[in-house]
Subunit: 490 residues, 2 copies
């Protein structure tokens, strides 16, 4: 192997960290909890961004940009919101440094204290609703469908690359509507976009549903979510879409005049996904050899590795390599030739496997004679020798096949790791083994808390597509009208 | 007019502010000096970003993302850099808020003081070179060609939308090279990209050149720049590309092993353009009716305004409107139909003029009969009636013509407002009238400072393409080998 990676069985968490750093996706920075997203990891994010951005625009949304800073007092306006977000955050208190007396360093200038502290946004509802107040007067100004691509900061105590970092990148949509119904439909529509994106781009099958009151976004009436299952049996919340009711409109006094002239508070939604999705992508698909990336978001689809001894042989091979490269590029395939002369091809193969390049095309003197190439698939680790002729069509087909196979594998894994459980004893046994557990719950926060305290499992969501099956809460025996999904989670 | 705009002659500065806010580009936020970029302004930025990003990638650069925060001590590492950037900046001193005793508000938790303060990045050389230290060991790791799209914060005392804001959006490229020559070529190459972008996308003719020592980026060996002339005769620095020598490599101890195994410090460049370019775009082209936007970056190319009385007539017209819209969209033209029924068409016309939509297509019952449409150009305010047949080709041609015309107009303005001056007396007279002044200077900082103090003019650049003409400094009479460009500037 190019670089030693711990196996999943040995230590899943270390395996994850190994992949992130050794595949050059990201690394920890000199600033506690903040990551550097390296070019290969950022290319992945750019592909995800591009696909999502198109989906948002196709559903009528526009992008805008709101300030990085939020005046401290804004956070306190919405009572629940402040509880959820105003605690662990980066606080700007001063606006100037000065040179120290010895002239060798800089220090905070005590004379440059801000009258009101500024919070680096942990999420932007407050500053945005304070802005919307000036943008919305009448029903003609609605709906307002804005999205923002931005960085946010939450001062997490325990951080992990992509999964939980002090600073992360995300998109946050903030929409305003004239009716409750329309806002709910918007929140649902976006959840549909997220599900579609997770399924068809990230190849991750997700469960859609609604959060319980205790897992809800601080300030929301309802939080819809997509939940994914990782290979270690833990759940990962991959995206959320909130119906905010009139909470923020009331906190920031945003009213609109209806057709009949009567005033009412505006209805709102907010929704977001973040660089956390990269963590989900890794833990859903990858194996002990390295990353497995769905072609739809992979920074590179195929790498061509000429098999040569000496400069002379390389020269002979390069002409064909370049021809194939151009043919593939013309077909919209992202391709690179790895002609580094200081590394053995075995080393290169391992490196491209580590980085999850979906296809590898090896090409040596014998292939040259035979008019063939050897294609290796990253997802199945299988190889085949195929004619050079028609290579673009073959590669396109393979990429489609890989995209599907990765999804199907993840779906199979989820199905095999979703369990219907009817007794709390069985639940306690199963939760240790991991997976989604579908069980009856009496609908109370008390029972939910008890389960969480005793088993570390939370209700990931009340799924939208489950049968309305009558049953009894596995803990209290009280009536339940629907199974909910439990899991331990990231 | 849709919304009253002050004329340029009356008050250029107010005219600018009127355009920015009334054309819905941006507005001031509740946070001092920070702007909200509204959807229409952000769409402009997205178009600029897309074009630049492609140019960067076509020249071999990749994107990455580095932390928002910079440890205070990092800024002090490079002696000149700290002088330039460590003064007016946002300082994070705490990482937690707590609820006040009355339970009604939040306050900074004094127990949550950071050991070392964090600075919100004013530019990222220090954090990036601290990171590059781990990425660069040998010549095989070079060149390293990274760009970052990010927000930065500089605590400006006097702010103006887009031109000078506390927070702004930009791209910053940071490259590392094994030789001085290669780094200089990189800085020059990027200046070429900026010039090309300014000329061919923004339709702004720019002068390229090198800054004098006193106008140089803090920490650079040489700063190259593109300088644009605004309609009020003031210059605007539209982009800079810095050759940093080995300054940051030395400050952060970044050395590489050459082919022969010897260690040397890495050579560097950095370069950036920002949302300030939107300000340049406005002040270079727009008129008293509103924005004039080059089609290459305009969020919308053409708006179709059906001229109707009553719902019945609108219905009849809409079929043709939609057909034309689809035809134009298929040809890659960004088009919208303005069928608002609560506004007169005169009001709509003025609004689209204010927002700088390059083309307006009006269509009424008579056009319906005649198979024609009326096309109005925003840049010349001229109208013509043309057949509906072949409309897509006509519109494409017009958009190209408009792009060229806007550039030529700006070029003519610059040529008419660039003056060769040989005496300091003439200089003092001319500088009051504005424009670029090409004059001889003795090359000393003393003379430069004197001129700045007496006339508020700075040397915008020592232009690359000027004749090496012998002359005498207009102030001191000392020998000079080349004219330099003076102006008052933004």
């Amino acid at each position: 192997m190019a670089k030693e990676v711990t196996s999943r069985a040995e230590n899943f968490s270390l395996w994850y960290n190994n992949l992130v750093t050794k595949a050059d996706l990201a690394e920890n920075s000199a600033v506690r909890g903040c990551m550097v997203i390296k070019p290969y990891g950022y290319a992945l994010w750019e592909n995800m961004q591009a696909a999502l951005d198109k989906m948002f625009k196709d559903t009528g949304h526009v992008n805008a940009y709101f300030p990085l800073f939020i005046p401290k007092s804004f956070l306190a306006r919405e009572a629940e919101h402040v509880e959820g977000f105003a605690k662990e955050c980066a606080v700007v208190t001063h606006y100037r440094l000065r040179t120290t007396k010895d002239g060798k360093n800089v220090e905070v200038d005590p004379d440059a204290k801000l009258e009101e502290e500024l919070i680096v946004r942990p999420t932007s509802e407050t500053i945005i609703w304070n802005t919307y107040k000036n943008w919305i007067q009448s029903y003609r100004d609605l709906p307002l469908l804005c999205n923002q691509w931005a960085n946010v900061v939450r001062w997490e105590m325990r951080t992990r690359l992509f999964l939980r970092t002090a600073e992360f990148l995300w998109q946050e949509g903030h929409t305003a509507h004239s009716t409750k119904q329309e806002a709910i439909e918007e929140a649902e529509k976006i959840l549909g976009v997220y599900e579609d994106f997770a399924r068809n781009h990230l190849a991750i099958p997700v469960i859609t549903g609604v959060k319980t009151a205790s897992e809800r976004f601080a300030g929301a009436v309802d939080t819809y979510c997509i939940e994914a299952l990782m290979q270690d049996g833990k759940a990962l919340q991959a995206g959320t879409s909130h119906f905010l009711g009139q909470n923020f409109a009331k906190a920031f006094d945003v009213q609109f005049a209806g057709k009949d002239g009567s005033l009412d508070y505006v209805w709102a939604t907010s929704w977001g996904v973040s660089t956390r999705l990269i963590g989900a992508l890794i833990m859903a698909h990858s194996d002990d050899n390295g990353l497995i990336l769905p072609p739809k978001v992979a920074p590179l689809h195929l790498v061509i590795v000429p098999l040569f001894k000496g400069e002379e042989e390389l020269k002979t091979l390069m002409e064909t390599c370049n021809r194939i490269k151009n043919e593939l590029q013309d077909a919209g395939i992202k391709v690179k030739i790895d002609d580094r002369d200081n590394l053995r091809s075995g080393f290169k193969f391992a490196e491209h496997e580590l980085k999850g390049v979906p296809l590898r095309l090896a090409f040596g003197p014998r292939d040259m004679q035979n008019g063939t190439v050897e294609i290796a698939r990253r997802d199945t680790l299988t190889k085949e020798t195929v004619p050079q002729e028609g290579i673009a069509v073959r590669v396109k087909d393979l990429l489609n096949e890989i995209q599907k196979n990765i999804y199907n594998k993840a779906l199979k894994f989820r199905e095999e790791n979703t369990f219907k459980v009817d007794s709390y004893d069985d639940f306690k046994v199963q939760i240790e083994k991991g997976g989604f557990i579908s069980a009856h719950w009496d609908g109370t926060a008390e029972t939910e808390t008890l389960i969480k305290e005793e088993t570390k499992a939370t209700i990931r969501c009340i799924p939208f597509d489950s049968d309305k099956e009558q049953g009894k809460c596995m803990v209290t025996g009280k009536a339940s009208s629907q199974r909910v999904i439990f899991a331990r989670s990231y």
